[in-house]
Amino acid sequence: MYAWHFTEMPYPNHPDPDTVPSVRVSLPNKHFDPKLGADLYNRYLDEHLLADELGLNIMLNEHHQTATCLDVAAPLSAAILARQTSKARICILGNPMSNRADPIRVAEEMAMIDCISRGRLDAGFVRGVPYEVFAANTNPTQTLERLWEGIDLCVKAWTHREGCFNFEGKFWHKRSVNIWPTPYQQPHPPVWITGSSDKENIREVARRGFTFAMFLQPYEKVREMFDAYRECAIYDDPEEVRRHIAYMPLVATGETEEEAEVYAKKVAWYLSAKTAPQFRNPPGYVPVSFNVNALKGTYSGRTDAVRTRGIEYLKEQGVLMYGTPDQVFEQVRAFYDHVGGFGQLLMMQQAGHLDHEETVKSMTLFAKEVYPRIREEFDFKLAKKGAAAQ
């Protein structure tokens, strides 16, 4: 099992959510102070460098028009870390392919980062969270179609070596694609996709041999989705399948329980960020059957379910893992058992007002006291020799 350090790079110094309709999309950017922003960017990047030193991998993502995430262009931060780190793998999870206007550009950016990092990139693609269709102005009824057409075009651009190819799809028309550079890894960087409820989509991910990731969901839900992936996975070796299954909790490791609880409350901030209702479920983002339930008042997204709960509940569900190193290890193990196993632990170890010193402490404790046990206990016992090497 590999562990990946992650932060959404928040700007926590915004007005109290109770005083504004939405922290995402429409909170005016006059609340952003560039000097503070500059400090935050550099601090978060420093923490990623620390992750590299500590032997952790690195995960990045991208969001738009929101104080919850300053990383508005993940390829930029990935490029910086490709250059400044030397050991860690770097996973972008993910490029919002449905909302990006040109999949070929995404392919070029990924290829460039893969070269600069000498083959340490994991390239993820996501549909993009519902509220971001307002920023991108993507048609919410088309996000899944756009996602897959974009991925197909990107993979083709990465792997085609016989000069120019053309493409005339539903969303994109290209007359002569022949990208320079091509990726460093052959045939291309590993691809990751996230999901939360669409089983047909998960099957698609599994059939292509991509890694499937889930974030911040109660373990029962996670079990269901991981089982769906395992059913359709194309790898014969179950350990290889496991290597392609990823989960992200919030993680806070403290020297004492009290310290960990302080950290945990701070990172749980992430779940409380307010998004106005019309941004959370634009028409057509989820299928009609889900919306029928929404109209009846019986469907509410993950956000509603977990948002209002306390950290004890979140810990029970496996959404938040916190405590002393021993306790964190036990929670990882319990979650592992609950969901039938997984291979990649993506950890949101910084969020909200968790400051630099606290983040460093939590990361270091995890890396030194929890990770070695995790590596041993959940080591990949792959049938093929050498396949586990990074």
């Binding site: 919410p140 009824t141 028409p283 057509g284 109209l295 009846k296 008042g297």
Partner: protein, 268 residues
């Protein structure tokens, strides 16, 4: 429900699309193009009209029970399908009455071919852009909260209260699907066809444009501009009505519409 002479619902095949068609009443044909929320079809206005006309309500692809193949992307596509329907049903001398999205479809149809259409009435239609790139001609109903949108659409917001939790699932499916189709076709360019404004001069039948004075999604200014591009079109405002003036002020609405239909029938 007032008595009607007859009421049928059937599916009519147009190319690869199944179009749901309801008919009520009897007499000269009045083709009614429903609003995107499906409210007009359920309103007393239809029964009023069914007293003097055969009201024919074809639901556009993606709305009601009509199917929605992937190649249907714009109102332009839908207008051609609706004209195909008029041909298929052998309708002649039709009055076409369109509400909101239905009004947009009716306008598109009339710019293309009025051989089966004798007169046109549009009620708070969407469909054109009036201002420049930085202007929001049509309020972004998907960007605002439900409450804000309701306040824009209704002179008295309480008139827009609908309790979905007590509706049967089949009805809720229609509601959810209508919303999805609406977004699919109207998301971007937002609520308009960039070409339509340049084509409205082609409408060569008597036209009435009715507007709710309190319509906050598309203003009376927008409505006037819309009517102004159609040769000879009349523009009438219904006071104390919003985007659905026929729902909030049915009597005043029928006065205005009734007058136009009577004149137009005499002139015919």
């Amino acid at each position: 429900m007032t008595d009607t002479k007859s009421e049928t619902i059937e599916m009519v095949q147009i190319q690869d699309i199944g179009i749901e068609v309801e008919r009520r009443g009897g007499g000269a044909p009045l083709v009614l193009l429903n609003d995107e929320e499906g409210l007009t079809r359920e309103s007393p206005v239809v029964d009023e009209l069914a007293k003097s006309f055969e009201v024919i309500i074809p639901e556009p692809p993606g709305f009601g029970a009509s199917s929605r193949p992937g190649w249907i992307e714009t109102m332009d596509d839908i207008a051609y399908v609706m004209l195909d329907f008029l041909d298929e049903a052998g309708i002649e001398d039709a009055t076409v009455l369109g509400f909101s999205l239905g009004g947009w479809i009716a306008a598109e149809m009339a710019t293309k071919n009025t051989s089966r259409i004798s007169r046109l009435a549009l009620v708070d239609p969407y469909g054109i852009k009036v201002g420049g790139p930085w202007d929001r001609d049509i309020q972004d109903i998907w960007f605002l909260t439900k409450e804000e949108v309701q306040a824009l659409k209704y002179a008295d917001p309480a008139n827009g209260d609908i309790d979905y939790t007590v509706m049967p699932d089949e009805k809720l499916e229609v509601v959810a699907r209508n919303r999805e189709s609406f977004a699919r076709f109207c998301w971007q360019p937002y609520m308009h066809n960039p070409k339509l404004k340049r084509r409205l001069h082609r409408i060569d039948v008597p036209t009435l444009v009715i507007w709710g004075a309190a319509d906050g999604v598309v203003s009376t200014g927008y409505g006037k501009a819309f009517a102004g591009t159609i040769p000879g079109a009349r523009f009438e405002v219904v006071e104390d009505g919003g985007h659905f003036p026929h729902l909030e002020q049915p009597a005043a609405f029928m006065d205005v519409l009734g007058g136009f239909l009577a004149e137009a029938q005499q002139a015919a």
